[in-house]
């Protein structure tokens, strides 16, 4: 078969072509419909992706806000305050405790407890507090630490202000042999834990509701029961007095921040 025969055969093959009923307007209508449908599909896909991304990202964002509430204020002031003491307990809200991961322990070479007395404890607490909450800016500070004579417990506290209101963190250091036990810690309102630490010590936490004259509202206490028998308890509070804003019942410091202070080896007395 030559190329000429092929040409002729191909032309002949379409010789019995049926009549063409082609409507250009109908075709254009269909094309426009396809285009609209494709755009709608893309819009739905984008909206779905955005929604999915938002849903996935929201827990992380909310968790971050909870963690930095105390530090997110542009100005933080520390002042001396009255004595901190034990508070009556009520039913705590449920809490999930985890190993502190948000804040690294101090990297200073010396890890043995401070020996310079209450004022040194407070100064270290104030310095360490700004490391635990790196966003804060201390504009005023005062030292305050007291020792309870019968139990030999040492208290230190910081009162600070953020862009919403005032709050407080209290540290209680119970030296070895002072009689503070895990049962006593949990007796008031129950507790979570213990969470074993690498050195064999344990961390426990407890939610309580406090009333005047102590810082009013919800309180989250984290206690580190150390191998030498000493206990460091760090208490975080909500706004003082409680303000009528969203998240009123939350403690400004996160578990990680409280635990980071409680497990700080330098925060203690010898």
């Amino acid at each position: 078969m030559s190329e000429a025969d092929l040409r002729e055969g191909l032309r002949a093959a379409v010789g019995d072509e049926p009549p063409l009923e082609f409507d250009a307007d109908e075709l254009i209508r269909r094309a426009q419909h396809v285009r609209r449908r494709r755009r709608a599909l893309v819009a739905v896909a984008v909206a779905t992706l955005a929604l999915t991304g938002t849903v996935l990202a929201l827990p992380g964002v909310l968790d971050q806000r909870r963690g930095v509430d105390a530090a997110s204020g542009a100005v933080l002031t520390t002042t001396a305050s009255g004595s901190a003491s034990e508070v009556p307990a009520t039913t705590p809200p449920p809490v999930t405790t985890v190993e502190p991961t948000g804040v690294e322990p101090p990297t200073t070479a010396a890890t043995k407890p401070l020996t310079g007395g209450d004022s040194e404890l407070f100064e270290y607490l104030r310095k360490r507090f700004t490391e635990v909450a790196p966003e804060v800016k201390v504009v005023a500070a005062d030292a305050a630490a007291t020792t309870d004579s019968p139990s030999r417990h040492v208290y230190a506290w910081l009162t600070f202000v953020d862009n919403v209101g005032t709050s407080r963190v209290v540290v209680r250091v119970a030296p070895p042999g002072s009689g503070m036990t895990q049962d006593e810690f949990c007796a008031e309102a129950g507790c979570e834990g213990p969470i074993r630490q690498r050195d064999g010590s344990s961390v426990m936490s407890s939610w309580r509701t406090t009333a005047l004259p102590d810082p009013e509202g919800v309180m989250h206490a984290v206690a580190h029961f150390r191998l030498d028998g000493s206990v460091v308890e760090v208490r975080g509070f909500g706004y003082q007095p409680p303000v009528d804003v969203a998240g009123r019942e939350k403690v400004l410091l996160t578990y990680d921040q409280l635990a980071s202070l409680a497990t700080d080896p330098k925060l203690g007395v010898s």
Partner: protein, 176 residues
């Protein structure tokens, strides 16, 4: 799409619909499928009509779209047909033109039947070169391959077509 562009597309579609359907028929061997291919190609062309870089050669672009639409369609599982190598069925052609000679009718069917036995890409090259009368370069552009590939596909396609024609002729002789 602006009114002027839409009007341009409408004129193009009206003027090229028939030729596109003929080419599609030679590709696929069925007028209904050819009509579907033509419609699908024009729909795709409408979506791309606002691009102006190929406006100077809209026919070539349309041919390219048609070819790819057909090749895509052939790859779909429900379009996979059984390869037949038996004899040509001896059925009466109801649409035959009585004015034409029997020999011409036989030649027409023979070429078309043989063409459908040629592999798809080789068939496309033969149709574009010998029915559309495109140059090697134009076929290469339409198929998205090099000119060397077009030449080799043409040579192989012609060999395959001749083999198919001989087989069909032998079968027709035996049948008669």
């Amino acid at each position: 799409m602006r009114k002027a562009e839409e009007q341009g597309f409408r004129e193009f579609a009206v003027s090229h619909a028939a030729s596109l359907r003929r080419t599609a028929y030679l590709f696929c061997g069925d007028w209904h499928t050819a009509e579907d291919l033509m419609q699908a190609s024009l729909l795709k062309l409408y979506q791309a009509w606002h691009r102006i870089e190929w406006r100077d050669n809209a026919s070539g672009y349309a041919r390219k779209v048609l070819l790819r639409t057909w090749l895509d369609e052939k790859r779909r599982p429900w379009r996979r047909a059984e390869q037949r190598d038996g004899e040509v069925p001896d059925v009466a052609d109801a649409a035959a033109d009585p004015d034409r000679t029997g020999e011409r009718l036989w030649a027409r069917d023979l070429v078309h039947a043989a063409l459908l036995r040629v592999p798809p890409r080789q068939r496309a090259v033969l149709v574009l070169r010998y029915f559309e009368d495109l140059s090697v370069n134009e076929v290469a552009v339409a198929m998205g391959c090099t000119e060397g590939t077009v030449k080799s596909q043409t040579a192989r396609g012609l060999v395959a077509l001749r083999v198919a024609v001989e087989e069909l002729e032998r079968g027709a002789v035996v049948a008669s």
